[in-house]
């Protein structure tokens, strides 16, 4: 069977460290599945998500062993363009994800980088805003929005790239209860569309939308039994 994401025996060591941060990670995610990875701070959750999204391949922050497959193709054989078209990441801090003067410009940023035509970009902006329900904020300054709204715009800016895989790296950690509900509903909608989703979380109250939960402990991945330690 071909999985949307398949990680085989992945190890990662930062150049500045003497031990592997990730030690023999194996995981599989299917289409329309939400896999949540929980764990305490410093256990390698964000490192794992940066490895899967190919950021570390590009930035050369350490040595990566093992294999990451996206739809059966090794990450090593994919170009940066292919990876960006397939994987979208929503990060933890909304303030360092939003850098454009208006919401519209923010959402257009990715498609403009991919050199898409004006008509296509306009369609994608309309569509992404509709999906996150933020049409009325199109010309607003992202700095003036609430934490939850900012994260929805961050999500919209990823949606405009139309990826198949979404990674939410503690995307709800700086969001209030109402904002969390909004984001969870959008994740459920993405799941229904058949997107493969990996959620990185440390807040166990956000696990209700997950199909499967795994825990990352000291660089190793285990099935979650209700406790992080």
């Amino acid at each position: 069977m071909k999985y949307t994401i398949e990680v085989k025996d992945l190890c990662f060591r930062y150049y500045s460290k003497e031990e592997d941060t990730l030690q023999g990670i194996n995981l599989k995610v299917e289409k329309g599945e939400v896999l949540t990875i929980v764990g305490l701070s410093g256990n390698g959750k964000s490192t794992l998500c940066h490895c899967i999204s190919g950021i570390f391949n590009h930035l050369d922050k350490g040595s990566l062993r093992g294999e990451i497959l996206l739809n059966g193709r090794s990450l090593k054989d994919l170009s940066r363009v292919d990876i960006i078209k397939q994987i979208g990441i929503v990060f933890q801090d909304p303030d360092t994800q939003l850098f454009s003067p208006t919401v519209e410009d923010e959402i257009a940023f990715g498609p403009e980088n991919l050199c898409l035509e004006t008509d296509v970009i306009t369609y994608r902006i309309d569509d992404a805003l509709r999906v996150v329900g933020m049409e009325e904020f199109r010309f607003s300054n992202p700095n003036h929005l609430s934490g939850g709204q900012k994260q929805l715009i961050a999500l919209a800016s990823v949606l405009s790239l139309e990826p198949e895989i979404f990674i939410f790296d503690e995307a709800m950690s700086q969001v209030d209860k109402a904002g969390k509900l909004l984001i969870k509903n959008k994740i459920k909608a993405l799941k229904k569309q058949g997107k493969a989703i990996i959620m990185i979380e440390h807040d166990l109250s956000n696990l209700d939308i997950s199909d499967r939960v795994m825990v990352l402990r000291e660089g190793k991945l285990f099935d979650f039994n209700g406790s992080l330690s």
């Binding site: 363009v81 990060f91 360092t96 850098f99 454009s100 003067p101 940023f109 980088n113």
Partner: protein
């Protein structure tokens, strides 16, 4: 999509700013500089700047200008203007240099406010359409975007120091400066971390993936823009001719 939020193209404003700043640096005649200052002020008002806000900006810098005049005077030789015993405090030459520098700074500050009447997105688009590499254009835009965050970061760190029981207003200036030096390290560290996160977010959305990028917004110069640019060029040329002649 054409940008139509502002009537005047940011490239016209950039042309004005470049010409005015160049004139301010080139000209060393007080009368001409005062003339350029007046013209700059009128242009800034014409582009929709608030005159009160402009005066407030200059008022804030009044002390700095005074200091510049005094420092320039102290380090310049010439006919004394103010003496205490055998020590010359002000010279005519130094005073003139100080005044020139202060007017120059006023002109540059006022001219910079002209560009602030356009949104950062428009400015970036203008630079890109001027064939400036988009990485550099974005660097300018992100610099503008993150300046308030940097200021907030400094305020937070100063607040954190005050919460530990240090009343900055009540301690001597020497000690206060020392405490401010402690602010530097956490602010720089946080800024570096934020810039790292920002670059990862930008990279994950494909920034720099191709040598060029498309733009869903395009700027278009109107007849008014061409006329204004021509007027600025002719004006600058005339001032230079008068100065050199």
């Amino acid at each position: 999509m054409l940008i139509r939020e502002n009537k005047i193209d940011p490239r016209t404003k950039l042309t004005a700013v470049i010409l005015i700043s160049s004139l301010a640096v080139l000209i060393k005649d007080i009368a001409l500089l005062l003339g350029i200052f007046s013209i700059t002020f009128i242009i800034a008002l014409g582009f929709g700047n608030n005159p009160l806000a402009l005066f407030k900006k200059l008022k804030k810098l009044a002390l700095l200008f005074m200091a510049i005049i005094i420092i320039q005077s102290s380090f310049s030789s010439g006919i004394p203007l103010l003496r205490i015993g055998s020590i010359t405090l002000l010279t005519i030459d130094g005073f003139t240099k100080g005044i020139l520098l202060a007017i120059r700074m006023c002109i540059i500050i006022i001219s910079a406010t002209i560009i602030s009447t356009s949104s950062p997105r428009e400015i970036v688009q203008g630079l890109i359409q001027w064939k400036i590499p988009y990485e550099i254009a974005f660097m300018v835009s992100i610099g503008i975007r993150f300046l308030p965050l940097f200021v907030d970061e400094i305020k937070d760190t100063v607040n954190a120091i005050q919460l530990r029981g240090i009343e900055l207003d009540k301690i001597p200036i020497g000690k206060r400066m020392k405490i401010y030096s402690y602010v530097l390290m956490p602010v720089v560290a946080t800024t570096l971390m934020k810039s790292k996160r920002l670059s990862i977010a930008m990279e994950s959305k494909g920034f720099g993936i191709y040598p060029r990028r498309s733009s869903f917004k395009r700027l278009k110069l109107s007849k008014v823009d061409y006329l204004l640019m021509a007027a600025f060029l002719v004006g600058a040329f005339t001032i230079v001719t008068v100065y050199l002649g």
